[in-house]
Symmetry: C2
Subunit: 239 residues, 2 copies
């Protein structure tokens, strides 16, 4: 197969991101459980690339995974489970658990993998800096209304703005608008875009991964995603 | 983390294999959709390792994927979808489609990926030998009652016993008993064991992959699986 010359990946606005997901679920008959598993695993693999076990500053390969109440949080739970398989030591902070059975199932899978869970996030930032090598931000997804984030999330964002350890955000950094980076928001070192990068990722200067290999070619064409070729059997690549 | 010395992987009988799966679904709250996605992707990666694109005898990277009506068939469908992503050209032969919505969803995902489907299998074996580089046998799983296989599967097995291109079987070669290799059955060159190898895999002399990395440690211990360490982020390994 010949490859077309490398084009610029196009960044998507909120409506396009939602339309792609709707089409995947409705027309392509992907399941939510299936997509969350694919995305969560890709996030874990991105973490192993950005923060290999051998590169971690602390003796223990600890990672704090902060999970929101919705789909982004479910992806964080799957990411934590795979990280445990890859010999990291994730701890979950999951302040609001969804009543959705899918979200609960992913939670039980983590509990059954003996992944510890914090009952509250220390407000003293030094405790977080000392305990973990990095934080995974799986709180808000592209659906979040960032102008109306409700507690406990604003408090968590205040804490995350002060931590000195790196943050890796899933899809959209929490508190950012989907279409615009937040100047005074959290500043992740790593961003893992799911399916296609959102507009807020334009100009992102950290390590930027794209996890969208599963995407059917017709959707890629229809939405003019201009996705790059993924090497070998890799489920993600660094942009 | 220190690793215990390498022990022999234990091969499981039919009851043990079923008990592990029941426990994963009931107690660990894995979803069937999630497990099928994990297994199907692992099968596709095994095919890329056993039959790299660069090694294929034919000019086109064609693969025939024969899917049964139950879970093994669904895994074959997911495998075909991922192979398409990895730039193989799978064709599906899927003679009996399940009425189960999950199975139908996986079927639609393949159709939407433009993966062609045969309406019947040529009885003239040379046509199969000429058209494809290999056959993936995703017909019968460990649940199949191999003494009572109904048409069209016995006819397909007669054809597969005559093909000259290699066969890769998913979990249990179709027509074999879970606990015993079949002397006069099909003779796959590659076997991809899911979760844990079954007793029929003892003495298997072809390439043998194990796809079971996702398995929670407590289940590995409880069923004394003695699974080897998986390297890096690999979801499978060659035994």
């Amino acid at each position: 197969m010949t490859h077309s010359p490398r084009q610029e990946v196009t960044n998507k606005n909120k409506g396009e991101a939602a339309a792609i997901e709707t089409e995947l679920l409705r027309d392509y008959r992907f399941g939510q459980q299936q997509l969350i598993e694919i995305w969560g695993q890709a996030c874990a693999i991105a973490i192993t690339k950005a923060f290999p076990l051998s590169s971690l500053a602390k003796k223990q390969p600890t990672v704090l995974v902060i999970c929101g109440p919705d789909q982004n949080g479910s992806i964080g739970l799957v990411c934590a489970r795979h990280l445990r398989m890859y010999e990291y030591e994730p701890t979950i902070y999951h302040p609001q658990r969804s009543s959705q059975s899918l979200h609960q199932d992913f939670t039980v899978q983590c509990e059954k993998m003996d992944i510890p869970s914090l009952s509250y996030l220390p407000t003293e930032v030094q405790l977080i800096n000392d305990a973990y090598n990095l934080v995974i931000d799986a709180m808000m997804g592209p659906d979040a209304d960032c102008a109306n984030i409700k507690e406990p999330y604003p408090g968590i964002l205040v804490t995350l703005k002060q931590v000195k350890i790196p943050i890796a955000s899933v899809d959209v950094p929490s508190g950012w608008d989907v279409e615009e980076a937040s100047e005074d928001g959290i500043a992740p070192e790593v961003l893992i875009s799911l399916t296609a990068p959102k507009k807020c990722a334009r100009g992102f200067s950290g390590k930027h991964f794209l996890a969208g290999r599963f995407l059917p070619y017709d959707i890629q064409k229809k939405y003019e995603l201009n996705l790059p070729d993924y090497p070998g059997t890799d489920c993600l690549l660094e942009l």
